[in-house]
Symmetry: C2
Subunit: 678 residues, 2 copies
């Protein structure tokens, strides 16, 4: 019995509840957007899949408040070992590198199973909103009325959803009974798409579920490499398809190889390469170059050739003379799985467009796929929807104009292009034979070249170096197309028409377009130290950070007081009466002597008063030594002098505008470009 219902309406419909979809949903939850998220699967994943978390991803999790859960459960990668054959062809440790550069982030990279990460997102949705993942729900048809695209009140998108019965939604290779041998591909990006199959099966099934028609203002397709949404838009991934075959094995290894608990790369003399990635709960993931597998004539991997025994066999050749075996394979949460391996074809692709009319968006694997070894897939996917979510929420909520949305593709498609270029290089490096030491080997990759590449990779891989080009929300010099994905988008301008660029030299440690770095500051009222970044919550608000400077020096507090009054005046122009602090947050950091000044000495504009809650003690901070956590030296780190400056942050912590304490006109020009005047 298929029931037809009247169309329901939703502002944002998210298709796919993997990490990218959940990240989008997290924004909708925090910004109070009327949203739904559906996934064709009946259960969340249990094991396998991507699980490396870059430091920027941890910063993002922290801004939602659950990085601590990840930090506690995950395996921390501290060092990275490089192994190369010596002159006799025996692998030896050539070097050990730090896993990241300490100055990049207050976090280090960690490994944690994707299923746990999804759990933290689900808990977050539950805590902050009525939004719940609707599982076993599959989109069947999509229509889009382009003529309504610019009508802000319209619902130009119509989607028919099928609600599957429980049996239908369960993937065939489900691990639910804990005993089934799984080849780990059942939800892999490189497995064949089963959407059509699921739909067909459902239509034949007597216990078929209900059909539902949904009208939406916006749709986000986070439905993976085989994206149904992308297909509806007539888009496909493009780019190079390579023939490098790697096997992946999640085991508790029994080995005398010394660096088995380090991140590690091994180049053997004649048996190919391996990567060692330790994980939580004594697990180690091995990426193994499969020396004995051929690709079929269609360029697709013939999976039937690959077995865990075969992958282990290849690994043993690479690890020799060290011994490697195992008796226990991947399990998660008491679901023991006797054997698990995943085999990837290294596919590297990027989609030509990330949206249709800025109404339907694609994010994550739907628009870029690449090899798993860069450890970037899940990170970049989540960062896509992290970039999109706040923009979409602020447009839906009526505080920002639709023109803001064009920055999504410009910013994120560029990142995808960079990633794929990096990944391509990395794959080549791993698959190349090592150069013979001391020799004149032009084909092989020398250890010094490889090490240098890896070190540059640490910066790229951290995700903290992403720099968005000039746009309406990034006020700076530079060519729009060149610093983005090539699209010609708008930029912020002063009333005279010249480009808004502020005075970025007042904060030499802060780069416009890059996420705000973190240094420790102290709360003026209670002396508690905070990594400043931890105050930059993902709550959808723009932030003005007032570097008040040395407020005890002559005239400085007067400047701060004048700024406070004028700034409030400007911010009020972009917010309906009474909700200013729902749209903006103003944080002050001064560098005067903490004990020489009181909280109450600061202008009330910077420490808002509420009749029930009194003054807000969590708005004034100071750069200075703490009792228990050292000295943050924040002004030094941010490169700000005692004269102070103004920094405007986007809701995703990326820096939008920097100027001096007098440049309230600049702040107004900045927000005026993309925000709705009330």
């Amino acid at each position: 019995m298929v029931q037809e219902q009247d169309p329901s309406k939703v502002d944002v419909l998210i298709v796919g509840a993997g990490p990218a979809g959940l990240m989008a949903a997290a924004w909708m939850a925090r910004c109070g957007v009327n949203a739904r998220i559906v996934d064709k699967r009946g259960t969340k994943i249990f094991n396998g899949q991507a699980d490396g978390l870059a430091t920027r991803t941890l910063e993002i999790f922290d801004s939602f408040g659950f990085a601590d859960r990840v930090w506690k459960e995950s395996f921390h990668i501290i060092e990275f070992g490089l192994w190369n054959p010596d002159e006799e062809g025996v692998i030896r440790r050539a070097d050990r590198l730090k896993s990241t550069l300490p100055e990049l982030s207050r976090f280090q990279p960690v490994l944690l199973h994707q299923g746990r990460i999804e759990r933290f997102f689900l808990d977050h949705l539950k805590k902050h909103s009525p939004i719940r993942v609707e599982r076993g729900v599959i989109p069947e048809s999509l229509t889009f009325d382009d003529s309504l695209a610019e009508d802000e009140d319209a619902y130009p998108i119509q989607v028919t959803l099928q609600h599957l019965s429980e049996d239908e939604a369960r993937p065939e290779q489900s691990l639910a009974n804990g005993k089934t041998t799984s080849d780990g591909l059942f939800r892999s990006n490189l497995a064949a798409d089963d959407t059509d199959e699921l739909l067909a099966k459902m239509q034949l099934n007597e216990r078929a579920g209900t059909r539902e028609v949904v009208k939406a203002k916006y749709l986000i397709g986070c439905d993976g490499a085989h994206s149904w949404t992308r297909r509806q838009l007539g888009l496909s991934l493009e780019g190079e398809q390579t023939d490098l075959i790697w096997g992946v094995l999640d085991i508790i290894p029994i080995t005398d190889f010394p660096d088995i608990r380090m991140g590690c790369s091994i180049h053997s003399a004649n048996s190919g390469s391996a990567m060692v990635v330790p994980r939580e709960k004594k697990l180690v993931r091995l990426y193994i170059q499969l020396s004995t597998v051929e690709v079929g004539d269609k360029g697709k991997l013939d999976r039937t050739n690959i077995t865990p025994e075969m992958i282990l066999g290849c690994a043993q050749k690479i690890f020799a003379p060290y011994k490697l075996t195992y008796s226990h394979c991947d399990w998660w949460y008491d679901i023991p799985v006797s054997q698990l391996q995943t085999a990837y074809q290294v596919g590297q692709r990027v989609c030509p467009s990330f949206h249709r009319s800025h109404r339907i968006f694609l994010a994550g694997d739907a628009v870029h796929t690449h090899s798993p070894k860069a450890g970037q897939g899940m990170n970049v996917s989540m960062q896509d929807s992290y970039n999109l979510g706040w923009k979409l929420a602020s447009v839906v909520n009526g505080t920002c104009k639709r023109s803001l949305l064009e920055t999504y593709q410009s910013e994120r498609r560029r990142v995808a292009q960079d990633l794929i270029a990096f990944d391509h290089q990395l794959s080549r490096f791993y698959s190349a034979k090592p150069a013979k030491e001391g020799g004149d080997d032009h084909e092989g990759v020398g250890m010094d070249v490889f090490k240098d590449f890896l070190e540059r990779g640490l910066v790229f891989g951290s995700g903290t170096a992403v720099e968005y080009g000039p746009s309406v929300v990034v006020a700076k010099e530079g060519d729009v197309a060149k610093h983005g994905d090539g699209s010609r988008i708008s930029v912020a301008r002063l009333s005279g028409g010249e480009r808004l660029v502020g005075k970025p030299w007042l904060a030499k440690g802060i780069k416009v377009g890059v996420r705000m770095p973190s240094f420790q500051v102290l709360n003026q009222a209670d002396a508690r130290p905070w990594p400043f970044q931890q105050l930059l919550r993902s709550d959808g608000r723009f932030r003005v950070v007032v570097f008040a400077g040395d407020v005890l020096s002559e005239g400085q507090m007067g400047r701060v007081r004048r700024l406070g009054e004028r700034l409030l005046g400007v911010l009020k122009r972009f917010t309906p009466k009474g909700v200013l602090y729902g749209v903006f947050d103003v944080l002050t950091i001064h560098c005067g002597d903490r004990l020489g000044i009181e909280f109450m000495d600061f202008p009330e504009a910077l420490r808002p008063f509420d009749e029930k809650m009194g003054w807000d003690y969590d708005k004034i901070f100071v750069d200075g030594p703490s009792h228990y956590e050292g000295d943050g030296r924040a002004y030094e780190g941010y490169g700000v002098g005692p004269e102070g400056c103004l920094v405007v942050l986007r809701p995703d912590q990326h820096v939008g505008f920097v100027s001096d304490l007098e440049d309230v006109e600049g702040v107004e020009a900045y927000f005026g470009e993309f925000m709705v005047r009330s």
Copy 2:
């Protein structure tokens, strides 16, 4: 309808599910003991009550794995402000002190509502055991057969439990509807006892619940100041009863007083004293000396005189010339309460005995009560049952002898005595008038005296300085009675009869009888830094810490290897075959060059092998600089030289024995004194 059931049996019955009872239950959960915990209340508490957590308590929570939840939600006390009247009688900030001494602990004191702390314990029980708090269950009668006390298989205790109906179990001043005005006394120690009332009400009630008879090997009474268990033993609290009256107000203050977000003490010239204790969620707790309340002729506070308005009035006089008011009072978890105050009589008492025949034990407020201002009540109560829990569990589980249990009263009654002496002094200090500055005021307390007292109080209050006297589990010199509560208990002895004292001078930073301090060490296999204390999980196991010294120096690894083999031999004598690592944990810290040695170079005795799990990579640590967290300098901190030493830790992290790497006989003598040979 009252149903009689056949007696059920349980190894340990815990009466009372406040923090002390929950701490006992946590041990039972972790040690796999067959235990039950009952509480007469139908719900856990919502607000009010003690909520200061000392650093040692946080260390204990961390050993169970939930300190991070407390740390995240709580208010961190960083500084403490001292306010005194100036020459004109106007209060001024005299000084600011650190809230603790950084070298005492890796934590700082925090404030968090007791209801949340109970929540974390409940989650912990759920995660680790089938033990659940049985609420609305009230003990009605207790019989104890003393003749069976020393029979390890006997159940000499019989308790009749009444299961209350939901209505009966709900306290009259329940805040369940979120609107009721509460005076916060409904579960206070100083409220009248309502056990008899509850029982009587139940007998009259037609919907009375079932009656149950339980036979138990052991019983722990954690049932508060009016302890029913204590009454059954014919014991009562003794000591001084004072007439100092303080009011407590939990509000969101609206005030221009600058230190309102600091821990703070205020001595006014003529209006008494106040303490400011900021809490989570913008709340501040004010302890206010009530200048206008008299105690009735029975020496008991007449509660009807005390209103929040009256307490606020007293506070306003003390805070003058600063303004103080509020419009919002305590709430917890969306349960708004329009007014909450608590009034304490400062009662300071300690019980003459903490047990009956080492079968029935009392812990927490059941054996000591004191004023709330020392912030120690909940901490010392939990630390009581933290001390008792592992001892009882190891006796019930058959690994330790009953003689171990006599150390409970010796160790904890002494702490209670010390606390009450400290608390008495503190109360006098707070209630005394401040000395006039510069004058020759013998009655008043000078600021320097007060400050000095407070600084000494930081050490005491942290809980980290508790030093247990010599006993079977603390092998050291000293008079047993003098260093305990006066009881004459046994001590560890060598086979020749002389006292076992080891070579404590080999670890100058480690005190026998005190909890093991924490310094950062790195995991040899993966380079991750750990505060060493974090590895000392509360899992019921004794730990041998092998300070292996500089293993790269000549002969040292040979010493370590010989130790490893002999040590395993000794430990096996105290464990049934195959469960050695269920009873003992062996951790190694060396101070050689980390990169100069491999994990596999250490003897297998120190890195156990399991056929399924491989080698245990989490047993070998090294003192050295980390990449991201500085240098722990652990050997320097522990005062251990390159020759190394052996340290035996009790399951509660207190140091039991220190000697050199050859003294395996000492280790055997130590464990032989109180452990059962297999």
